[in-house]
Symmetry: C2
Subunit: 208 residues, 2 copies
Amino acid sequence: MSQEVQQPDVSSYMSGARPEGTENYIMQQTMIRVKDPKASLDFYCHVLGFKLLMYKELPQWKFNVYFVAPVDASTIPSDADSRWAMCMSTPGCLELTWNYGTETSEGMVYNTGNADNTGTMDGQKVKGGFGHIGITVPNVYRACERFKEMGVEFHKSPNSGGMKGLAFIKDPDGYLVEVLPQGVMVTEAVDCLGVPAEGGEGYKDNSK
Amino acid sequence: MSQEVQQPDVSSYMSGARPEGTENYIMQQTMIRVKDPKASLDFYCHVLGFKLLMYKELPQWKFNVYFVAPVDASTIPSDADSRWAMCMSTPGCLELTWNYGTETSEGMVYNTGNADNTGTMDGQKVKGGFGHIGITVPNVYRACERFKEMGVEFHKSPNSGGMKGLAFIKDPDGYLVEVLPQGVMVTEAVDCLGVPAEGGEGYKDNSK
């Protein structure tokens, strides 16, 4: 197909005042379901350095929710009401939902959104809408060396694939976590998995 | 089953220093695929008051990405490098990924994660992992009145269901957006859809 794509004009979305009433809206959360809350909290808090801001145990509905974000623990209030308010004002929290009983299931429980066959009746792949969450870090290569030392599973190391200098790791449920630099994109000669910057063609991106 | 759930002890995740090297990590993005970028940008920018911080057109790979977040447009730098850096330091961005061609598809394209049958070969529901994104607002009832006036589809109005004072609306792809208060939870007598606080039992929550 030689047809050119008509690129939409999006300049109007970058300027102007926010609509009246929306000025203080906060993009506060992304909710994902997790099989085992302990495994997920270990990953997000010990590996990614997030803290548990707030949680709710809801045995009457057989599920709990845990809100995590990369904050300084000393800023988390000790009383429940203040903690709730702080959490609701923190942009970019992850809400981990644990439905009781999933933790004893065999294998993966939830479809991760990225063309996997988990959670389907026929074992066919699903065209999922959710792709990944992403963290930004001061140095992607140093961050990934630490992740490797901690035994984290890589979906894409920094030098694999066509996009150099960014990585994808997997959380305990298989959700993808992108690792991006806070400043300019940089490329180092060799990454934590030994992949040279000139190589890495084996990786095929399925997350777009 | 009368079995009690063993609630995990999570207190250790709330305190202590972040692991060395993770102190500056930012939870920067959540990526979802969208069928039609214009429809999604209209929704996130005009309805939710988000702004387009940064975007990339990648015709060589046949997709574009658009980063939106509820920021003041005057803070978005005009040159591309500064815009990238600003975007990568903004927590809670939404990355909208548009794969060329989906915009002309019939009906829904992507599985939203919430027990729908979109994106499967057999039309069966999928046990999705992704649940929703969520915004917090100064007043849920006022926000929802405005959403209703703008023709937004409600999944749950503030007084529907067991949890009063919070709502779920749908974006153009059917993804759920939770609407929560920034302060304490409040309940008003009647919501924008005319549901009284004492009623609303018809709503069955499938998002947990």
